[in-house]
Amino acid sequence: MDYFLELFLGGLTRGSIYALIALGYTMVYGIIELINFAHGEIYMIGAFTALIVISVLTLMGMNTIAILVIAGVVAVIYSSAYGYTVEKIAYKPLRNAPRLSALISAIGMSLFLQNYVRLAQTPNFLSFPNLIPDFEFIKPYAHIIGSTEIVILITTAVVMVLLTILIKFTNTGKAMRATSQDKTMAMLVGINVNRIISITFVAGSATAAIGGVLIASHIGMINFYIGFMVGIKAFVAAVLGGIGSIPGAVLGGFILGWTESFATGYVSSDYEDVFAFLFLVLILIFRPAGILGRSGKHEI
């Protein structure tokens, strides 16, 4: 039973990592129906920016809490800026083009950003300091769950709630929903569609940056390639939960995390990715819109 519980908690942590990244995916997909392949790279850039800021500030001799806050803020700003720019360069000109074109452009952007960081920084792994201090109250349970894991879980929950509030209860959110349903109509009723799409990218990238900092600090190392596989997994999570749905992304993340954790625990970690993808195929066969997704107009 203990074993089960530990696997469950391990899956939960892994799942909340996926969920945090999946939130950004699902927002972007919800609004312009594009798999933003570069989202994983935005997350990676967030982590890199944070590491750079940390290194510079540490050399200047600041104290840890200040460094943590500044690094987090700078990472969020830069990731948002990158998200904004990527949208303006690679997706905006393709708004009226076939969906395939935008998707290929997204893959191209992902390749570009990966190699940009690889060439400008380093192809090797860099160690990332553990930013989150060990909480006193967690010490007795440290063998079950660490403080970083708890922070990730709480952050995922908070971000999910904030995004839900943003979309459900604010004017911007209303405009987002309108844009996602019909861009032309939204424009007719006076919504600045370009602005709304930019806001979506900025919000999605900001969550990716938060994820980047937390996850890098959890794993303890980063390189230019960390975004790609996590990005794909997060997308799988978003699809599982029903793409476009905020709670769906989180649920999908947890389900994916558990699938992998239990597959490793009870079968073999050799095939954890196989299980993850097979599970995705099964879900899509029986519920093509995902677990929490609504059957939209496109389902045939």
Binding site: I54, S55, P93, P98, R99, L111, Q114, S127, V281
Partner: protein, 411 residues
Amino acid sequence: MIKLNEIKRAFLVSAWFIFLTFPIMVIRINPVEHIVEWRWKNMALVGIGSFFLSFVWNYLMKQKEPGFKKTETAEKTDTIPPLPPARRIQREKRIYIPALVAIGTLTIVFPFIFSMYQTNIMVSALIYIMLGLGLNIVVGLAGLLDLGYVAFYAVGAYAYALLNYHFGISFWMALPIGGVLGAVFGILLGFPVLRLRGDYLAIVTLGFGEIIHIILQNWNEFSFGPSGIANIPRPSLFGIDLSVHSSTIYIYYIMIGLCIVTIFVVNRLQNSRIGRAWVALREDELACQAMGIDKAKTKLTAFALGATLASMAGVVFAAKTTFVNPASFTIWESIIILCIVVMGGMGSIIGVIAGALVLILTPEYLRAFSEYRMLAFGTMLVVMMIFRPGGFIPDVRRIYKFEGVKSMDKS
């Protein structure tokens, strides 16, 4: 003329990019040694580079806009020629036939004028031409984005490697068997994903590619795991074992033959009933079904045919390298093949051939710049999609004209 506000705009863009690239380009850190290196030169480069690129970008964007909005008037003006040169060559028999003869002669004598290395990389390029043409059926014609195409390539390569290892089956036997196996796998993948559309399909096929890769990597008893299978025989000519040099030439001719067959088949299929069904499916699934086209059958044929070609290319690949391991069949391979199709021109045979030659041969000759290869690929994908979604040599829309019905040819 360059206006003042354009310059102002370029300054803003340049300032924005300096800000954007500041941490990544200027500061290089080494957290292990606690060293921070400041590279101010890069900042200047980014600033100047983005300043000028913003002009180019604006210029290209302006070129694009009118073309989009008023195609009818644009066609009458001289800014856009009626046919690109490559297309014109195809049309005019006087250029077309001598060109074909010249290319044909060149391909035949190629291995005798150039060194073994040249022949060898040409074989690689030919393999990619075949892969590109196969993926072109799936992505270009049927519009099904397949990000796991490399899986079928792997099926073919491993089919030959394993059949030869266990049963001593020769290359010429393995080629059709590999093709059939590829088709089977294509249909196996096709069935579960019949209901899925574009993006979902992309992610599931990507998953399928990863699954095949992981199985090859982990199932030691079956595939010999990551250390791979070595000593796969090169194809023999009537039972004679050839030296490396002559067998490279031999494989070159085999590949030329296979490519010609592939081109012929794809070309005939394109104009056939099934080919038109693919295009219809790509354009509008609903309308296509309404016209009475069996969606399932059409999609499955596309998958199966694409997979067959990839699988046969895989058999040749195994015979050429004489060694296979899972490292050759990663997702990046799928992306490179996709790049070939997209760069060359989706749906266009000549385009795909050109794409494969450029994308596979250029990095071989420009090895010094191989660090930048992936960066260039990424940039090319984005730029091509924005400014030239049709590729180098785009597919021409076949226009069916009905005499007397004027409104038809406008669409």
